[in-house]
């Protein structure tokens, strides 16, 4: 079986969080010099496993062998000493520091820094890899694709020969993916081993030598990529035959419910995020906003919803100028629902119970309160009804929102934002971090809402998702809509060019 020696082996790894088994008896062998994909949907336990290899989590049972020798990895320093490096899905970097400082951080060496020397070596290494990186830039000022290159450079600077990459293509545009895969091939030919964590089937088929499929914390298959196909992998990954065929009827489009004209706004750092953005959404259609993360999507959603002040331009909701209304008034008077990107930080009060979260944006109004007095009985019955309708899995409406799974948290938000039949719905990354079942639920719910005549602005960085759900796509780049097209005309290539601002 193992013609090539194993670079790293996991045997019988178990990891539990609370009562939840994130990894259950996981065994994997990664061959030296190969690209090994770990495939699985969200919540399958891939990242947990990688964090164990990298020493961030401690396994409850099982053993790890590096080049056949059993090792205990209790922190990232030990992992690095074994030549293991990891690029997390959400990059682990200090935004306020420069590229050089980020690369040098945590390295052993003489107590007094000599950044000039490090800087020179970084430039050399970047040249070798074909990266165009300015080592003096602060990290936050770099585009996200560049940040990823810095992360990879960081690992190679530490002479890691086993690279764990967690969902690396999620931050890349379609046109950036090809060069990235070329880089991986080059790294493999230089003798390095790569573990690629992904939920994208085509990446596995294109790049991997061998693939491990995980589902619900367990390994369900270990196969050579050449001996399988996308269809089989999909079935293994989800546990049933899935073809994402959300049934959809042609849209019945009505009058505009959202008219955004020349919108200008800044982000927290005061840098311009929206630069004269214009956009229209009509009743009964789903308009998808496509674009690489960080091109103004969050600011656009927040400005429309009233969480962020526009410095110029107008937002009209159902024909009325919304500028002076706060988020709750926009919901009530202008009939606008908003599902924010960060459901835990913005969408919910995690420390309150489900019942309160169901009325988070309306508890100061009748029937939930009168003259400042809260009617908890009404809030409770209301919550029970909604929880049933939206299938929220819980012990009771008195349970804290914090203790629910991401999918159930998202259902609370959807229920709250849709129960009063909004005319306009803004949804921002509504499926982020959810498992397949919950994703399916969210998308069906939104499509059903569209069929009832609601106009939906659907913001997502997942192209496949947009292609499946949206009727029309608008591509955002640098705080501006750089192209609009019906979904039927959208191809990844065309979108890719638009998303990088290379085609107008």
């Amino acid at each position: 079986m193992q013609a090539v020696p194993s670079r790293i082996s996991l045997e019988g790894i178990v990891k539990t969080f609370g009562g939840f088994r994130a990894n259950d008896d996981v065994s994997i062998h990664v061959a030296e010099g190969s690209i090994h994909a770990i495939l699985g949907e969200n919540g399958a336990g891939k990242s947990t496993l990688m964090n164990i290899i990298y020493g961030l989590y401690q396994p409850d049972a099982g053993r790890i062998l590096s080049r056949g020798r059993e090792v205990k990895i209790s922190n990232p320093r030990q992992a690095m000493a074994l030549g293991i490096g990891m690029v997390h899905q959400h990059f682990k970097q200090v935004d306020t520091m420069t590229v050089t400082e980020n690369v040098v951080l945590g390295l052993p060496g003489r107590p007094v820094l000599n950044l000039a020397q490090d800087r020179k070596r970084i430039i050399d290494l970047a040249q070798e890899l074909g990266f165009d990186i300015d080592p003096d830039q602060p990290m936050w000022s770099l585009p996200i694709g560049m940040q990823q290159r810095v992360e990879i450079l960081k690992l190679l600077y530490r002479q890691a020969d086993l690279l764990i990459l967690d969902e690396p293509t999620s931050v890349l545009t379609p046109s950036e993916i090809k060069p990235f895969f070329n880089l991986l091939s080059r790294l493999r030919s230089s003798g390095r081993t790569i573990v690629l964590i992904t939920h994208k089937l085509d990446e596995v088929m294109e790049m991997a030598d061998r693939v491990t499929v995980m589902r619900l914390g367990r390994v369900v298959a270990n196969i050579e990529a050449s001996e399988t196909n996308s269809r089989e992998l999909a079935r293994l990954m989800v546990g049933r035959d899935v073809i994402f065929d959300v049934t959809r009827t042609p849209p019945r489009i009505g009058s505009p419910v959202l008219e955004v004209a020349d919108l200008v706004a800044t982000d927290e750092r005061g840098l311009s995020a929206l630069n004269g953005l214009s956009l229209t959404v009509k009743a009964g259609e789903i308009v998808g906003i496509a674009g690489v993360d960080g091109n103004g999507q969050r600011e656009l959603a927040e400005t429309i919803a009233g969480l962020r002040k526009a410095s110029a331009g107008t937002v009209k909701i159902c024909g009325q100028v919304a500028d002076r209304l706060n988020p709750a008034e926009r919901k009530r008077r202008l009939r606008m629902g908003f599902v924010p990107e960060d459901r835990q930080k913005v969408g919910l009060d995690l420390d309150s119970d489900i019942a309160f979260n169901m009325v988070l944006r309306s508890f100061r109004l009748p029937p939930f309160s009168r003259h400042g007095w809260v009617d908890f009985a009404k809030i409770k019955t209301h919550a029970k009804q909604l929880a049933e309708r939206y299938d929220v899995r819980m012990r009771g409406v008195g349970q804290r929102a914090r203790d629910l799974s991401g999918g159930n948290q998202q259902k609370i938000i959807l229920a709250r934002e849709m129960e009063d039949e909004p005319e306009l719905l803004i949804v921002s990354q509504p499926t982020k971090g959810l498992d397949v079942g919950a994703i399916d639920f969210v998308q069906r719910t939104l499509l059903a809402q569209r069929d009832r005549g609601t106009g939906i602005l659907y913001i997502s960085t997942e192209l496949e998702e947009l292609l499946m759900v949206a009727d029309r796509l608008a591509v955002i780049f640098n705080g501006r809509i750089v192209g609009e097209l019906p979904v039927s005309e959208a191809t990844p290539e065309r979108l890719g060019l638009l998303m990088t601002g290379k085609a107008a």
Partner: protein, 381 residues
């Protein structure tokens, strides 16, 4: 609508089939966690006993003198009640903003400004009003003074983002010096050995509710205030709004709440409570404004607030207890010679242990697993 193939990845808590002994064990554990505050106080008392020993006293004698002095007789209890009033109000001054996530550690200053305004109204408002209205005006002035002083750090926080912890505390020093300066410049009674004001007119002295004691109705008002605040937090949209801001300011904005206004109103309401404490010290107890009249009620209010786990009702009990310690301290010094500052050390240890207790939370799932694990071997036999 149904979820297609929703995989159940949520925690699987051990089912209800666990044996009864396990359930009993778990409820006992839960109960032990609920008594966390009691353990903290006991730990402080035990450590306090060592301090008494160190000071050359006998702990049992010291503690019995302390508790007898505070709780054993009519006069002891009435003194404890009198002492409880400012402590309770000061704790409310901490609790209300803290529910909105803001630390008011400047209640001391709000007490002083409240007392100052109350005294000014008592001494300088022409005596044309019926005395009961004049008294209410004095009390109201106290609350207003505290509220205004509380609004300063709140406004700086809301509009400039200035750290309210630092400003509220620094403002306390400014307040204490302000009272001192006003006394020196205008209010001081001529020929007084120590800076204090003229006495307020007899008609403005708060009535007492326990005969032959100093127990003035300010005590009752303080308790009533705690009840009102409890109702506000349990039953009103204002209370829920403040709590939402405290839990998650981002969600509060999303909910359409005016976070700035709630920052201001929670701090003003808290400051008003502290201001009342200052007014009652003048109107009910001392009948004059003294320089440095508060022995640190503002800071002690923080101890009460933590001891009560930020519950306004719990504050009544906690303030009564702490007041008892302070009143009993005198008796302890008289009978056993242990200095009254022993109680300050005790208070310090109480708050420290309460803070340590915050680290230990009851997790039902974790404990049910542990209990189940303990039972396994016995079940096998």
């Amino acid at each position: 609508m149904s979820v297609v193939g929703q995989p159940s990845v949520k925690a699987q808590t051990p089912s209800g089939a666990e044996p009864r002994a396990g359930r009993v064990a778990q409820s006992l554990i839960k109960f032990a966690f609920m008594l966390k505050t009691v353990w903290a106080v006991l730990a402080a008392l035990i450590l306090g006993a060592f301090l008494v020993q160190l000071a050359g006293g006998r702990p049992v004698a010291a503690y019995s003198a302390l508790f007898e002095g505070a709780f054993a007789d009519y006069y002891g209890i009435s003194s404890t009640l009198v002492r409880m009033s400012p402590l309770l109000l000061a704790s409310l001054a901490v609790i209300i903003p803290l529910r909105a996530g803001l630390f008011n550690i400047g209640a001391e200053g709000q007490i002083y400004i409240g007392a100052l305004l109350s005294t000014l109204v008592a001494l300088y408002l022409p005596e044309v009003l019926p005395s009961w209205i004049h008294v209410i005006a004095c009390i109201g002035a106290g609350a207003l003074g505290g509220a205004l002083w509380g609004l300063i750090p709140a406004a700086l926080k809301a509009y400039r983002g200035t750290n309210e912890i630092i400003t509220s505390l620094l403002l306390s020093y400014v307040a204490v010096y302000t009272v001192g300066a006003v006394l020196h410049a205008w209010l001081m009674e001529p020929g007084a050995p120590y800076p204090y004001s003229r006495e307020i007119p007899d008609a403005l002295v708060l009535p007492t509710f326990l005969s032959e004691t100093e127990a003035h109705i300010g005590v009752l008002i303080a308790v009533a205030a705690a009840l009102v605040i409890a109702v506000i937090f349990r039953q009103t949209t204002l209370g829920l709004s403040i709590q939402t801001v405290g839990h998650n300011p981002h969600a509060a904005v999303y909910a359409g709440l005016d976070v700035k206004r709630l920052t201001l109103s929670s701090f003003a309401l808290g400051g008003a409570m502290a201001g009342l404490a200052g007014a009652f010290e003048v109107l009910g107890l001392k009948y004059r404004l003294f320089d440095h009249f508060s022995p640190g009620y503002g800071m002690q209010g923080i101890i009460v607030a933590f001891l009560a786990a930020l519950s306004p009702l719990g504050s009544i009990v906690a303030a009564f207890f702490l007041a008892g310690l302070q009143v009993g301290a005198g008796a302890m010094q008289r009978t056993t010679g242990i200095d009254t500052t022993m109680v300050e050390a005790l208070q310090g240890m109480i708050v420290l242990f309460v803070a340590i207790g915050l680290a230990f939370r009851y997790h039902p799932e974790r404990w049910s697993r542990r209990v189940a694990a303990w039972q396994k071997p016995t079940q096998g036999e």
